[in-house]
């Protein structure tokens, strides 16, 4: 079956611009996670959705970052006034249910470059 998909695969934007990154989770998965991965580092948690609500947004670095999941499936990560330090690979993952006993399935990521 289809896995987690993310679009775009690559995004280059200028400093100060607004970007949206999209994640399509596996159909039927109730939990969705966003991570950010810098070069040579492991993924860092950003936000976790259970259904439509953000159950844990403690990883969002500041108020320029926002994510939504209005219908409990597709999610969009939104970054305002991008900065060069936002450059990273943004990974999305979904799991059948919330809770860390369930395997998370990762998408291929969106590589964001802020120039």
């Amino acid at each position: 079956g289809a896995g987690v998909s993310q679009t775009p695969s690559n995004k280059v934007t200028e400093k100060g611009k607004y970007v949206e990154l999209r994640c399509d989770p596996i159909s039927g998965h109730t939990a969705l996670y966003w991570y950010r991965q810098s070069l040579g580092q492991g993924p860092e948690f950003l936000i976790y959705f259970q259904g439509t609500g953000a159950a844990d947004d403690s990883g969002l670095p500041n108020d320029r970052f926002f994510a939504v999941r209005p219908e409990g499936s597709v999610s969009t990560l939104k970054i305002q006034r991008t900065e060069r330090g936002d450059s990273a690979v943004y990974l999305c993952a979904s799991s059948l249910f919330g809770g860390l006993s369930y395997e998370q399935y990762f998408g291929p990521g969106t590589r964001l470059t802020v120039t």
Binding site: Q41, G42, P43, D56, L100, Q104
Partner: protein, 113 residues
């Protein structure tokens, strides 16, 4: 901050040899997971071990967990060129009922043909 720390940061071995990677963490956990990542994208879940388990096997993979030492190891036996990847351990972090995975920095494994 990262909870898990993998050791070594990089490992290069010959095809057919065994590869061992270690992970240490700081706080109590419920589960520990290992993931593989090829070419800097798309992590693949390998194995989950619960805090009350000491060892788990999956094909050529063997994971151990020592909660007294707050450490885990991943052993890949009879390595193949396709095993070349970065390997990450991830621990759960419960905070006020919310849940997230905390990843280490990873071990870059290179299998030489």
């Amino acid at each position: 901050s990262q909870q898990g720390e993998e050791d070594p940061q990089a490992l290069s071995i010959q095809e057919g040899e065994n590869a061992t990677m270690n992970c240490s963490y700081k706080t109590s956990i419920n589960n520990l997971q290992w993931y593989r990542q090829n070419s800097g994208r798309g992590l693949v879940h390998l194995i989950l071990i619960r805090s009350n388990e000491r060892e788990k096997h999956s094909g050529r993979l063997r994971v151990t967990l020592d909660t007294s030492k707050k450490s885990s190891s991943l052993l890949i036996t009879a390595s193949r060129a396709a095993d070349t990847a970065s390997y990450f351990c991830a621990t759960d972090a419960r905070r006020q009922g919310a849940q997230k995975l905390v990843f280490g920095q990873g071990t870059r494994l290179t299998i030489n043909p």
